[in-house]
């Protein structure tokens, strides 16, 4: 597979040096553009990858659970243990039995992020849509609305904000110092760091892979003794691909665990 299939950025044609892949990878040429209600939309290959990945995931879960049997076949077993990982391993573990009603959301969130992260190492896709900041931002916004809504529903508006902004066991004058910190850490930094953590991991991981892969091609084709360094770059590409798989699974899991932690915190009365 030539580099031009998956790499978006182009080097100046008369530049013989190594041209490293940059964040421009995440801004490929639009395949189609249109305006809807005054909003400009651009369909790029990242959009298409997101559609295909999400479609495959939805298809898999529908197909796996259409004819449910007491003794599951391989597909149903896989889907059930995947769902159970989030339902029992995250929702029940972090939030408690009341958390089970959030299991469908948490599992959808997990598998949506997971499949879109893993697109970073699937041949010919090889870019994680979650590395575009807009996707983590929307996911974090949903989580943000959800945990605040749960907190307000569960505790009432007054007590919810009081519990969050004025933690118990602090002498009154110290609230002057503490309350701004609590406000920013709960209502500003939480959604922000949630989105940035996923986005930055996917962006950095993709660039790492792209640089080693492009470096391999360059070292093997540039001529002279550079060729002896080619295998090192190639080995790094392979090693980092496995490392990326780990990061991709872990980041999907962390996003879901933190979402349920926030929900759990909103459901809890004062400590």
């Amino acid at each position: 597979m030539s580099a031009s299939v998956v790499l978006a950025s182009e080097c100046p044609p008369d530049d013989p040096g190594f041209c490293a892949p940059s964040v421009l990878e995440f801004f490929p040429k639009p395949l189609a553009t249109f305006d809807l209600f005054g909003v400009h939309f651009a369909i790029t290959r990242i959009t298409i990858i997101l559609w295909i990945a999400t479609g495959l995931m939805v298809w898999f879960f529908i197909a796996a659970t259409r004819n449910m049997r007491l003794v599951p076949d391989k597909r149903q077993y896989f889907a059930e243990s995947g769902y159970s990982l989030i339902r029992d391993g995250v929702a029940r573990e972090v939030i408690g039995t009341e958390g089970l009603r959030f299991a469908p959301y948490l599992a959808s969130l997990f598998f949506f992020i997971l499949i879109n992260n893993i697109m970073g190492i699937i041949p010919f896709a090889q870019i994680p849509p979650t590395g575009r900041f807009a996707f983590p931002v929307v996911l974090a916004a949903i989580t943000y609305v959800l945990f605040n809504w749960v907190g307000i529903r569960q505790q009432g508006v007054g007590p919810y904000f009081k519990n969050n902004l004025f933690p118990a066991g602090v002498p009154k004058p110290l609230y002057l110092l503490i309350t701004p910190i609590e406000f920013f850490s709960t209502f500003v930094f939480r959604p922000f760091t949630l989105a940035v953590r996923l986005f930055a991991n996917m962006l950095a991981g993709h660039l790492l892979l792209a640089i080693f892969a492009a470096g391999t091609v360059y070292l093997f084709t540039v001529g002279n003794f550079s060729v002896i360094f080619g295998p090192i770059s190639f080995a790094m590409t392979v090693i980092m691909t496995f490392f990326e798989l780990l990061v991709q699974v872990l980041q999907a899991y962390v996003f879901v665990v933190l979402t349920s932690t926030y929900i759990a915190g909103a459901m809890e009365e004062a400590h």
Binding site: R92, P167, A264
Partner: protein, 66 residues
């Protein structure tokens, strides 16, 4: 604490880091604004220190007794 809930090291860890970070950023930011306002330079350093102390204190209050 709801029934069946296990304390999660991962989420508590993130919460502690977030609180410390928020302390420094919020009070450092307030100090920085005061610096802009009064045309000084030292208040942001005081703000960062105040935020660090307040953040550590807040971590003790919220997570220290478990």
């Amino acid at each position: 604490m709801t029934d069946g809930r296990q304390p999660s090291g991962l989420s508590d860890g993130w919460a502690v880091v977030g609180t410390l970070f928020a302390g420094v950023v919020v009070w450092g930011g307030i100090g920085w604004l005061i610096d802009l306002w009064l045309d000084t330079t030292f208040v942001k350093a005081i703000g960062v220190l105040v935020g660090l102390v307040a953040g550590i204190y807040l971590v003790f209050v919220k997570y220290g007794n478990t």
